[in-house]
Amino acid sequence: MPPEREADEVLCRRAAQGDKDAFRLLVETHERRLRAFLAQLGGSDLGDELAQETFIKAWQSLPGFRGEAKFSSWLCGIGWRLFLDHRRRQRSDARKLEAAGQLAESVAAPGTADRLDLARALAALDPVERAALVLCEGHGWSHGEAAEILRIPLGTLKGTVRRAKQKCREHLK
């Protein structure tokens, strides 16, 4: 087992018994990746809000976490489901436009023309396509892990990543 996963497991066990210091270490280790993932889905403000909610939910659910998956992928899965819940609640077009604008900002940070075009292409993607692309191409998750996080079959995930890449590529041409 990789040392970082072992360290996470020890911290998870301690946190599940109410050890807040252990949980703080878990937050420090995983907040960067989780916030980046959620910001790429809905913009940096919403990303931060959902990431905070994700950690609170994780703290409450830790006693039931059996360590079958990595802590980081379990966490990402909670964040993804919170994002979907949020999206169901906020269906208005104005919200979507606002989120797409914030998303363009979060991806296009260095400000090159290519990055800006790519940000627009990503904003035009369906959330599942965007999430699959971010997880597999940006965050280095394997297809199997990403499928587990998004709770979709492996074949569907692979097709989604391929389609999302194709759409971005066409947008950039």
Binding site: R24, A36, Q52
Partner: protein, 109 residues
């Protein structure tokens, strides 16, 4: 947009979507800790209220069944048959009893 090949596109995608390299954000960690503490307080308060509700329901049930048992005694049944409004009077009496017990519990707490 400049014309890029597949490899260039993959690199661009990887760079744009990768999480930023930075140390842990202490401000965010503190916000999470405050959120966790708040959620814990809420959970304890909710559990306390549910326990209180359950114990009060249990106490009321016990009092009601005692009254029903007493009402079956021949002398009490006879009195109730002569004046059925007495049965209805037990309801406000029961409520008063419960309110008194609650008030006393509040003072003692």
């Amino acid at each position: 947009m400049t014309d890029i090949d597949d490899r260039g596109f993959d690199l661009l995608l990887g760079e744009a979507l990768a999480p930023p390299e930075r140390p842990a954000d202490r401000g965010f960690v503190l916000r999470v800790e405050r959120g966790v503490a708040e959620a814990e307080r809420y959970r304890r308060r909710r559990a306390g209220l549910l326990r209180q509700l359950a114990s009060e329901a249990l106490a009321l049930g016990a009092v009601a069944s005692s009254l029903a048992y007493i009402a079956q005694a021949p002398q009490v049944r006879e009195a109730l048959e002569r004046a059925p409004e007495l049965a209805w009077l037990t309801l406000p009496a029961l409520f008063l009893f419960w309110a008194l017990v609650r008030a006393r519990g509040g003072v003692l707490a």
